[in-house]
Amino acid sequence: MAPGEPPPTGPPLVIEELSIAYGERRAVDRLSLAVRPGEIYGLLGSNGAGKSSTIKAIVGLVPPSAGRIRVFGFDVVADGLSAKARIGYVPETSLLYEALTPREFLEFVASVRALPEAVASERAAGYASAFRLEAEFDEPISSLSNGTRQKVLLIAAFLHHPPLLVLDEPLNSLDPRSVRLMKELLARYVGSSGRGALFSTHTMEIAQQLCHRVGILDHGVLRAEGSLADLRERAARGDAPLEDVFLRLTRED
């Protein structure tokens, strides 16, 4: 989003009856959920539950087989560019232009997102300093560790101050200091001005600390959704940790 643009209104993300099929295999089956303004929504699930497929559909990498996805009212299929302009995305694996440096990569991202030079520079400086990326800022990405690449992706996601963050295992490979920084940043960031975040993880402790609501995916189907208290009640698990609740709700009968 360009600086000076009024904060968007409406729900950051609405998914209606989303289905994604890869040939015969249905990865996501009639999924419906919404991320509310000011909310960090945790998307939990085992390996192969459909989290990444859902996220790829949101960011425009995979076409839905059925259903709709809207980002602040913009359909990701019919009006993909408008939707993408409002999303800051961190993929699960560190997918970057290996032949570029972090500076060159961020220049590219900032240019595509039409950020003014002064704004992009100021924000890049702030985030790079916070994540202690000074030493690697002009080194080829191919030479960077996974953790450093993840930091570059995080900076690229936040650079344009998007109203919706879509984060697929964003804390992978980060050192403890950066994990703490990221949690604080995320909580502060989403709390203001109608923003939202979809946070995919299979680390229950992090979801428990960060997320206002959680959706549990299992075999492509949303098994349960709500705050931790709601899910505990549903799973009849008293004050059990989210991990216990998750296992209870996804056990195969």
Binding site: G23, V59, G60, L61, P63, V77, A78, D79, G80, L81, S82, K84, A85, I87, Y89, P91, L95, L96, Y97, E98, A99, L100, T101, R103, E104, L106, E107, F108, V109, A110, S111, V112, R113, A114, L115, P116, E117, A120, S121, A124, A125, A128, S129, E134, A135, F137, D138, E139, P140, S142, S143, L153
Partner: protein, 559 residues
């Protein structure tokens, strides 16, 4: 562990290298829409097709060399060399050129292939496994050799066959040591220079000054590709020097020539064909020849043994040497989307030899042809004709290779497509890059030939008149590719895959770039100004047709 085990490991690793070379998953491409069980087989097939292509080119070069060998008696007695040259000397000279081309071509292919091997990450996966270092080294070496097996076999079979056909079976067999040595030297050179390249270029830091250094290294890297052209230009002088040196009798120069690779091996076939008298070789000359040939073979055997361990070491070496920390400035330079894509492509090209080749080849080719005007053009009008030829070549090369820039989008595709970047910006950026390459190449020709051509205005008009056609050709090719990618998923158009399709797409582009040139040549016989006007009209008309086709589709269309 044994050679058999190493071969088995290399076979499995080769499948992975093929998969990565074709689908570029480690470089950020999305999983393919092709059934994964078929993807590996498809990737292997594509790599084999590329190897067959390279093998075919080498076979053609060898056949061409044999044809020139066949003409050696006529060349020797004719005025071609300016001085009398004995037939065996001509034959040795031709074979010298042939072996040099084999080395240059395999070396250049190796430089293209090595980054793909390293980027596949295969060696890093094998290293922690419970396999002894020697077997791992052999497996890595065999893996490297597998990337060249068909071209190497082609040249190893074709050379004795074709030379034997011309000079006799013994002479044909006598080529084998030279060819073997050439193959080993080429692969070793590729590994050595590739290692230096990976550190200096791929591992180079950002910054404008360093980009210039990277491009300078890449120019050096490209020079082997010009070996054929250089040899053709210098052939006359080369043969005259050969003849004079050999005729001078025992001397340091003669001894040095006899001991120089590949001339040492190039003399063997004519000698075995009974041409000793033509060389005027004394017993000590023969002794030098034999000693040199034996030494080179020993070095080749040592080189092969070195390769078996070196590939593993190169593959596992850190990409950068440790260096001093320089506090960065965090200022980011931002531009429009199309310019951002173009800048990104140039930066990636400056660290990736395959793409750098696409940028540099038209430019270097233009420089070489421009310099040729000083060698071969007796008059200003001749120089102008050659310069026009150079610009024509630049236009055709830039558009012929243009679709390959599409392959850069495969890099980090799974991230790049999540950005709000429409196809139109990408197409404009790529077309802009192709046009820029054409203009730089043409500008280089203009700069070099300014001293020879005294009417630069018309030459500048020629360059300007062709420019819309180059842009039109680029838009046409890229528009076709993008439409295809949208209907079938992004095609993986890199060195190993989709090459046939990329070549097919180049045909309409080359036709579009060539049409105004044809118009010029048809009309210029009446008047050069008429030719220029006609050329410009055709080019502008092409651009008017191509632009809506390439840019007119809905940029908000779904993926």
């Amino acid at each position: 562990m044994t050679w058999r085990e190493a071969r088995r490991i290399s076979s499995v690793a080769f499948g992975e290298v093929c998969l990565q070379a074709v689908y570029a998953f480690r470089q950020g491409n999305l999983p393919t829409s092709v059934d994964t069980s078929k993807a590996a087989a498809l990737a292997r097939r594509r790599v084999v097709q590329s190897k067959i292509l390279v093998a075919g080119v080498l076979t053609l070069i060898t056949a061409g060399g044999a044809l020139v060998l066949h003409l050696a008696p006529r060349l020797a007695e004719g005025p071609f060399f300016g001085v009398p040259v004995a037939v065996p000397v001509v034959e040795a000279g031709v074979l010298t050129g042939l072996l040099s081309l084999d080395v240059a071509f395999l070396w250049w292919t190796g430089l293209q292939v090595l980054p793909t091997l390293l980027a596949s990450g295969v060696l890093a996966v094998l290293e922690p496994l419970p396999i002894d270092a020697r077997t791992l080294g052999r497996a890595a070496g065999l893996l490297y050799l597998r990337l060249f097996d068909l071209p190497a076999i082609a040249v190893l079979v074709a050379t004795p066959l074709f030379v034997g056909e011309v000079l006799g079976p013994l002479a044909g067999i006598a080529t084998i040591p030279g060819v073997l040595a050439a193959i080993v030297f080429a692969l070793a050179l590729a590994l050595l220079t590739g290692r230096a390249f990976v550190r200096r270029v791929q591992g180079s830091r950002g910054g404008g000054g360093r980009a210039i250094v990277r491009w300078a290294y890449l120019v050096l890297w490209l020079l082997p590709a010009f070996a054929m052209f250089a040899f053709v230009v210098a052939a006359g002088g080369f043969f005259a020097l050969l003849a004079a040196t050999l005729a001078s009798g025992p001397s340091l120069a003669r001894d040095a020539l006899l001991a120089a690779f590949p001339f040492t091996f190039a003399t063997l076939p004519p000698l075995f064909a009974g041409g000793r008298a033509g060389f005027g070789l004394t017993p000590d000359g023969l002794a030098i020849l034999c000693a040199a040939a034996g030494s080179y073979l020993a070095v080749a055997i040592g080189g092969f043994s070195w390769l078996m361990g070196a590939v593993r070491r190169v593959g596992l070496a850190p990409p950068l040497a440790a260096r001093e920390f320089v506090p960065p400035r965090f200022a980011l330079a931002t531009h429009g989307a199309a310019r951002a894509v173009l800048t990104k492509d140039l930066r990636i090209s400056s660290r990736t030899p395959g793409y750098a080749f696409l940028v540099l080849l038209p430019c270097l080719d233009a420089v070489v042809i421009g310099l040729f005007t000083f060698v071969a053009a007796p008059s200003s009008s001749d120089a102008r004709e050659i310069a026009i030829g150079a610009v024509t070549t630049a236009a055709l090369l830039a558009t012929f290779f243009g679709p390959a820039f599409f392959a850069i989008e495969v890099n980090a595709y799974a991230y790049g497509r999540t950005l709000p970047l429409g196809d139109r910006a990408i197409v404009l950026a790529k077309a802009g890059l192709i046009a820029a390459i054409y203009l730089v190449a043409s500008g280089l020709v203009l700069g070099i030939t300014l001293l020879r051509i005294f009417e630069p205005t018309r030459f500048v008009a020629f360059i300007a008149a062709e420019l819309p056609a180059v842009v039109a050709a680029a838009l046409l090719e890229l528009g076709i590719l993008f439409r295809r990618s949208r209907s079938r998923g992004l095609p993986v158009a890199n060195l190993y895959a989709g090459a046939w399709w990329a070549l097919l797409v180049s045909i309409p582009g080359v036709v579009a770039a060539g049409a105004p040139l044809v118009a010029f040549h048809l009309l210029a016989s009446s008047s050069i100004d008429l030719g220029l006007a006609g050329m410009g009209a055709v080019a502008i008309a092409e651009l008017a047709l191509a632009a809506p086709l390439a840019l007119g589709h809905d940029r908000r269309r779904p993926i």
